[in-house]
Amino acid sequence: MHAYDKRELTVHDRPPLSSSSRSQRGLDGFNFFIANVQTGFGPFIAVYLTAQAWTQIDIGFVLTVSAITALAFQVPAGILVDAAAHKRTVGALAAAAIAVSALILAASPIFPLVLGAEVLHGLASCLMTPAIAAISLGLVAPHEVGERLGRNARYASAGNGIAAVLMGAFGWLFSNRAVFLLTAALALPALVALFRIRRSEIDPERSRGGPVDKSERRSPLHGIVDNRPLLVFGAGMVLFSLANTPMLPLAGGIMTMRSSQWATVLIAACIVVPQICAAIISPWIGRQSEIWGRRPLLILGFAALPIRGILFAVLASPYAFVAVQVLDGVSAAVLGVMLPLIVADVMHGTGRYNAALGTVAFAAAIGASLSTALAGYIQDRWGYAAAFLSLAGVALAGFGLMMLFMPETRPMES
């Protein structure tokens, strides 16, 4: 769109940085191992604490506090990453903090320590996403950003999928505690990979989407709340996460009900299949985003979600659910690349890239946290099919929003 023409001017102002393949591979490895580390957190925490003789009330409280922390810190974390001189250091601190919280969980699952570990993990995770996006933007030339983010998504998905299998096996063979020891141990290769990235190759200006805005009277969120394409995209992300987050847990509940022998294996497959799928197609999506533009791919990703909801509602076989999860892989790959990419497009030249990324992530996290309760209520009152169809309806609204109001944000070729 015309509003973004000015981006190409700045692109040609400075020669593109040719970052070394050593740095590129370092970032690949960091994405992979951080995804490994993050898999240990999430719903597995509840299983672990249950095995440690925690009551469901205490587990629920800790998980709520952790969710609120992760929500509240999104925007401040983005502002912080924009302000940070060295994004690599931010990534290293966040990785170390996540490793420490995993160690605390493994070593001493008592209430105050677990609460502290979960808060620490929430804060570190909020820093991690913008730190990785900032390093990526700083490392490559603007026309290579799509491809770089595609590579990020590939290694993150591969890391998630492999870690889910690995941690499932660890929990089964050894103990639930061993899972957190493994989680903490995997932070070491993550840090090694991170420090393979040459700090001199990360352009600080590019990594925050332009020069630092020196005018002190402006609020840190200036240029975010009045940015129309960003608002449309953010609203789309809210609807997407509202519809997407409860789908796998709901499908998992059905699988536990309909299949006794294979339920565990089928749920594992439903977690791993989308990750494999996303690992395969993400780089292609990154490349195509520079050729076709962002809009067609974004619409593909948003279209996959309502179809998935409808298929879950009408299909009976738990085995078919695994096949439907390919659609999850499609939308996960698209959104994994498009979220950091579109925000980079619309925030170009502002110097507030990470603050904007944090704001969109905040909006999506609100959608996600409301969604589980909403879907649970509908499922309880009217059954699984109604819950899936409602989620499909929300997803369809997101699709419509993208179709009607989301402009193409790819910078114009000169």
Binding site: T39, P43, F44, V47, A53, T256, A263, T264, I267, C270
Partner: protein
């Protein structure tokens, strides 16, 4: 007046021989000093742990060794066929304090897809004196898979060993807040 819920735990969960079994159940450890225990003290010659905490004179106390009693919160359950049936997360007692059902967290992978199901207390077999400390359940995964989820504040549907389910009327529900 202590909450009913708390009393339920005190009455049924007895931690014996230190915390060797669980490794870290801090709050419930105090339950072992409850005078409500009916098991007589183990003969000192058989007890492997001489570390009996000193109790103020005049307080009734019972000492339960590891092979007489066990803590059950968070303990894994297996079916008689050896299938993994999840873990005990809560216990339902009636107005007399008699255990009626155990709530188990059943199924799932890495925490996705698990459900809480109430199973008949009588279907659980505890064998603290046996060679294994495993708690077995006279039900199979197939029998549990379609059981309705346990929800607080609603009548508890208890799965019984014969395979039929028996709803506990909401009026008798012991944990209503």
């Amino acid at each position: 007046m202590r909450p009913v819920r708390r009393a339920a735990f005190v009455a049924i969960i007895v931690v014996a021989g230190g915390l060797a079994l669980t490794g870290g159940a801090p709050a419930w450890a105090q339950a072992s000093s409850s005078p409500a225990t009916q098991t007589p003290p183990a003969p000192a010659s058989k007890a492997p742990t001489p570390e009996v905490p000193t109790i103020p004179p005049g307080t009734a106390a019972a000492v339960l060794t590891k092979n007489k009693a066990q803590a059950i919160l968070g303990q894994p359950i297996v079916s008689t066929k050896g299938e993994n049936m999840g873990r005990i997360v809560d216990v339902i007692v009636d107005k007399q304090g008699t255990p009626r059902a155990a709530i188990i967290d059943f199924g799932g992978f890495l925490g996705v897809g698990s459900r809480k199901i109430a199973v008949d207390w009588g279907a659980l077999n505890f064998s603290p004196t046996g060679k294994s400390e495993r708690i077995t359940l006279d039900l199979t995964r197939d029998q549990l898979k379609s059981a309705p989820e346990y929800e607080k504040g609603k009548p508890v549907v208890v799965v019984e060993a014969k395979g039929k389910t028996q709803p506990m009327p909401s009026g008798e529900y012991p944990l209503d807040e």
